[in-house]
Structure formats: structure tokens, C-alpha cells
């Protein structure tokens, strides 16, 4: 009987389908649903949501983690605006966004444009797996690999010596001018594979007729890119931006292992300051305020990026 009933277009109301069969049970609120969700929601609440609330509360106090705390009001927040070191750490984050998000996406777009048919090539899944590999390697391992590249006698300087550029060589992670871009380039290396894999898959989904049509209209490679490829990849660009921007803002392990925020505080980042203040220098209130601002920035940027997503995207 239920099978002859019209299929509901939305899945929101399964009650319609089995209405006659089990009227008594399906019409009422399905209280059992709460029971099934309860264990997960409990764990989430105790270990994630409650701490988030406490984070905001602690950020309003001066507290060293041991003795009694004193009310600070917004002092920990105004400190972020005033303290040049903290301001710098947020500034560094935005430099990292350039290296983690903008450079890989731009590069991957150009590359994807010249490999519009890569998705159909033989062996593409092997390439895809290799290009994506940096994403699954523990960040601590990535950091140790790159410290060897950037070391004073590292392979980068060896390569520079080989082409007669000894004068450029330096301790890349120990130099105030180059440490932050050097960390940023590790991020570029990390994220470009992700972007490339996303875009190649995305281009594979763009109808070939659009490319044929562009060709018939006499569009060159550049016109084709802006008229077909770029609009076709809007959804993938949004995903890439979300993932890479969050990765840049959350960077912690990389800097902890590769530079420890140094030299000086040339590579200190908000996440690193959070850890350092809370667990090394006994400024728990201040650490929480930084964490609140960092979380706020992440949520805000994520929100702004999703605004870029085309309306008709799968949802």
C-alpha cells in the first residue's frame, strides 16, 4: 500500500510514505531520534562546546593557570590590538594565507587550464595520488623534511651554489627576512596538490560541448579559460579557498617544529602564541582572547568564502 503512495519530493517527511502502514507510530514526533543522537551530542558538548564557552569566559580574566583569577574585562582583547608582537602574529597569518591559499590556487588554475583533459588521461589516478601525497604526511614529518631543504648546508643552498649564486644562500629559516616566506612556501608545496586535484576533477565535469562551442566561436586559450574553465570551477575554487585559508590560519605544528616562532618572533603565529602563552608563560587569559579572535577570524572568512559559492551548487 505504501508503495502506491506518491513519493515525497523532499525527504523531510517520511511520515507521508508509511502513513497508512504505521500511522500510530510515524505520525507523532519520533522521540527515538533524540536517543540515537544523544551519545554523539554528549561527547561533542562535553569535549568541544562547553570548552568553547569556557574559552570566552576565561578570556575575560587575568589568570596564570594556578592562582585565583582576576577580572580583566576586555583588557586581553585590547592587548591584542596594542601589543606589536601579537599584532605581528596575526599579520603573519595573512602572509601565510597568501602562500597557502592564493599562490597555490592561482598556480593550480593556470596548470588546470593547460591540462583541461588530464582527467581522461591514462594513469591520471597515479599522478593524482602522488600530487596529493603531501596532504596525508604528518606535519611534523613535513617540517623535518623542509628543515633539511632550508638548512645552511641544505639542498637549497647546494643548488644555489651549483649555479653560482653562493651570495644568495643563507640559513633560510634563521634569517629574519626569509623565515616567514620560507614557511609560507612549505604551505604552497602542501596545498598546491590539493588544489590541482580538485580543479582537474572539476574540469572533468565541465561539459565538453562548452569547450567545443568556445572553439567554434574562435576563442583562444585565454578566452576559453575565462569563459568556460573559470566559471565552471567556481564551486571547486570555493572549496579550495576554504580548506587552504583554514589551513593557513591554523598552522601550528609546522612552525612549532621548523622554527619555534623564530628567529625572534618572525614566524610567530596566533596558534603558536595561544599555545605559548597558555602553557609556557602563564598568560592563560590572554591566550584565550587570542584563541577567540582566531576562531572569529576563521568563522568570518569561512562565511565570506561560502558567499562566493554559486547558488545552484549541490545542496
Amino acid at each position: 500500500m505504501a508503495a502506491t503512495a506518491p513519493r515525497p519530493t523532499t525527504r523531510k517527511r517520511p511520515a507521508d510514505v508509511s502513513h497508512r502502514r504505521a500511522a500510530g507510530r510515524r505520525d507523532r514526533v519520533q522521540w527515538k531520534g533524540y536517543l540515537y543522537a544523544l551519545p554523539a551530542l554528549t561527547v561533542l558538548t562535553v569535549f568541544l562546546l562547553v570548552p568553547l564557552g569556557q574559552l570566552v569566559r576565561i578570556s575575560l580574566y587575568h589568570w596564570d593557570g594556578l592562582s585565583a583569577s582576576t577580572w580583566a574585562g576586555l583588557a586581553n582583547y585590547t592587548e591584542i590590538a596594542r601589543d606589536p608582537q601579537l599584532r605581528a602574529s596575526f599579520g603573519h597569518s595573512f602572509v601565510l594565507i597568501f602562500f597557502f591559499a592564493l599562490v597555490p590556487i592561482a598556480l593550480a588554475l593556470v596548470l588546470a587550464a593547460v591540462t583541461t583533459r588530464a582527467a581522461r588521461l591514462r594513469g591520471v589516478s597515479v599522478f593524482r595520488a602522488v600530487i596529493f601525497l603531501p596532504q596525508v604526511v604528518a606535519m611534523v614529518v613535513t617540517a623535518t623534511a623542509w628543515t633539511a631543504v632550508y638548512a645552511p648546508e641544505g639542498v637549497l643552498n647546494q643548488a644555489l651554489n651549483a649555479i653560482g649564486l653562493e651570495s644568495v644562500g643563507r640559513s633560510w629559516l634563521g634569517d629574519f627576512g626569509t623565515a616567514l616566506p620560507a614557511v609560507g612556501l612549505i604551505g604552497t608545496w602542501l596545498e598546491i596538490g590539493l588544489c590541482l586535484v580538485l580543479f582537474i576533477a572539476g574540469i572533468g565535469q565541465i561539459p565538453r560541448e562548452l569547450y567545443e562551442a568556445a572553439k567554434v566561436d574562435g576563442a583562444g586559450a585565454v578566452r576559453e579559460f575565462f569563459a568556460v574553465t573559470l566559471p565552471g570551477l567556481r564551486g571547486q575554487i570555493t572549496v579550495a579557498l576554504t580548506l587552504t585559508v583554514i589551513a593557513a590560519l591554523r598552522t601550528f605544528d609546522l612552525v612549532y617544529v621548523a622554527t619555534h616562532g623564530g628567529p625572534g618572533n618572525a614566524t610567530s603565529l596566533p596558534a603558536f602564541e595561544v599555545y605559548n602563552r597558555a602553557f609556557n608563560t602563564g598568560q592563560v587569559g590572554s591566550a584565550c582572547a587570542i584563541a577567540v579572535v582566531l576562531t572569529g577570524v576563521i568563522l568570518l572568512l569561512t562565511f565570506l568564502i561560502t558567499k562566493l559559492q554559486p547558488e545552484d551548487d549541490e545542496s
Partner: protein, 273 residues
């Protein structure tokens, strides 16, 4: 048809970027096989293969202990997350009750909030109840974090199962519980595998949480152990490289066999986050 020039160009681009991705990692592997006498502070290409770095690093760095900790924590998180995500995903996908969407969006908060945000209060909470420096201090918070993705992932999968399948079972008198465990769970094996792989990788690679929670050397996880090992062995890169390979290998091996699961999961999981 693809012209020959275009094909060559496509392969060239793919090859260059595959090589770029591999160079630092191959450097680590090559250095790890370099005899100690030849070792330097950077990558080295071995004159002859020498596996002794692995045994030395394994013994000096206590990696047997660290890997055991990591394995125990990661498997626990995968199992607990799996069960809880299946239950909650079922609830959000197949039940109708007030506040369902709200509760679902609340779980999604965990997808966006960085661990830096909740680790400080969490540390003091767990310290107050004497749970810091225990495996629980790693397992429970990481389960919470993984659940955000897990619930989202399982809910979407359960929603994609045609209603007819479930209605047929109900006609046969199957209870909610039987529908879940005997129909939905068996057909969602690929989705479950993807989730398990991602959660395993995230937990295995997690660094901040063990750094904050664990002081007992015997409970250090592999990445944490590597960070300590690194600060003690800055000059002997071949040894550090061997230790790095030991830490990265379990996830990389899984990745080699199940790369499709890793890639689709990592790319689609964040789509709507």
C-alpha cells in the same frame, strides 16, 4: 580526440608537479638509508643502502612505545567515532523531531573550530578530574572533533539511500534498530571505510593535543615523539630521517592502498562545512 601535443603537455605538467611533491619526501627516505659515516645535516643520497638507522632510531627514540600509543589512540577514536556517528547520522537522516536541524548544525561547529580554541579550557577541565596525561585525554577530545565530520558524513550517506529500501524492510516488520544495523550499515561500508581512514589519519597526525595533554614519555604519540627526537638529534639527519619515515609510514601505507577514499573524503567533507 586529444592531440598528441596536448597529451604531452598534460603529462609534462603532471610529471613536474608529481616530482615536486615527491622531492622532499624522497629526500627523507634516501637520507634515512644513508650510512652514518656519510650523514650530514641535510638530505643525502646513500652510497650503499644502510638500514641500521631504522634500528638505531627505533631503539634510541622509543618508537615502539610511541607507535603503540598512537595506534591505540587512533583505533579507539576510529571505533568510538564510527559507532556514535552511525547512530547520530541515522537520527539526523531518518527521524523527524523538533530541533533536528538545529542539533545537526551544532555538530557542524566542530568542523570549523580549530583545536587551538578549545584545547586550553579542555586541559584545565581534564586536569581537574585527573585525566590529563592519560589516553582518555587524547581519545575523547579527538572523538568529539572527528564526530563533526563523521555525523555530517554518515547523515549524508544515509539520506542518499533510497527510501524504498527502508520502507520495504519496515513492511517486513523491521524495527528502527534492525533497519540501521542490518540494512543501512552494511550498504554504507564504502562510506564507513572513508570515514575510518580519515579519522585514523587525523588522529595519527594530531600534534597539538598530545603536546598539551601528555607529559609521561611512555604515552607520547608518534608525531610528538618525533618532535622530541628532532630536538635531540639536529646534527644526525640520517637518524632523524629514519624516525620520520617510521612516523609517516603507517598512514602512507594506508593511503597507497586506499587513496581514492582519502582523496574523495578530504575534498568532499569540507564542501559544505
Amino acid at each position: 580526440m586529444i592531440s598528441r601535443r596536448e597529451r604531452a603537455l598534460n603529462y609534462a605538467v603532471l610529471t613536474v608537479f608529481a616530482a615536486l611533491a615527491l622531492v622532499p619526501l624522497v629526500g627523507v627516505v634516501a637520507s634515512s638509508l644513508t650510512p652514518r659515516a656519510q650523514s650530514s645535516p641535510t638530505f643525502t643520497w646513500p652510497d650503499h643502502l644502510d638500514w641500521s638507522n631504522f634500528s638505531t632510531a627505533w631503539a634510541q627514540g622509543h618508537f615502539a612505545t610511541y607507535l603503540r600509543s598512537s595506534l591505540f589512540v587512533a583505533v579507539s577514536v576510529v571505533l568510538i567515532t564510527g559507532v556514535l556517528a552511525i547512530l547520530a547520522g541515522y537520527s539526523f537522516a531518518r527521524f523527524d523531531y523538533p530541533g533536528r536541524s538545529l542539533l545537526f548544525y551544532v555538530t557542524l561547529v566542530g568542523l570549523m573550530v580549530p583545536p587551538e580554541a578549545f584545547v586550553i579550557p579542555l586541559y584545565f577541565n581534564l586536569r581537574d578530574v585527573g585525566l590529563t596525561d592519560s589516553y582518555w585525554s587524547l581519545i575523547l577530545p579527538q572523538t568529539a572533533q572527528s564526530l563533526a565530520f563523521g555525523v555530517f558524513w554518515m547523515r549524508n550517506f544515509f539520506r542518499s539511500v533510497p527510501s524504498a529500501v527502508i520502507e520495504a524492510a519496515r513492511l517486513d516488520g523491521a524495527s528502527d534498530r534492525r533497519v540501521l544495523w542490518q540494512i543501512l550499515v552494511p550498504i554504507s561500508r564504502p562510506a564507513l571505510l572513508t570515514m575510518a581512514m580519515l579519522v585514523f589519519m587525523w588522529t595519527w597526525n594530531e600534534f597539538l593535543l598530545p603536546l598539551v595533554m601528555i607529559t609521561d614519555e611512555a604515552k607520547r604519540t608518534a608525531p610528538l615523539g618525533l618532535a622530541f627526537f628532532q630536538s635531540a638529534h639536529t646534527t644526525q639527519y640520517s637518524l632523524l630521517a629514519a624516525a620520520s619515515v617510521i612516523v609517516a609510514l603507517p598512514v602512507v601505507v594506508l593511503y597507497v592502498f586506499l587513496q581514492r577514499h582519502f582523496i574523495t573524503g578530504m575534498l568532499s567533507g569540507a564542501v559544505k562545512g
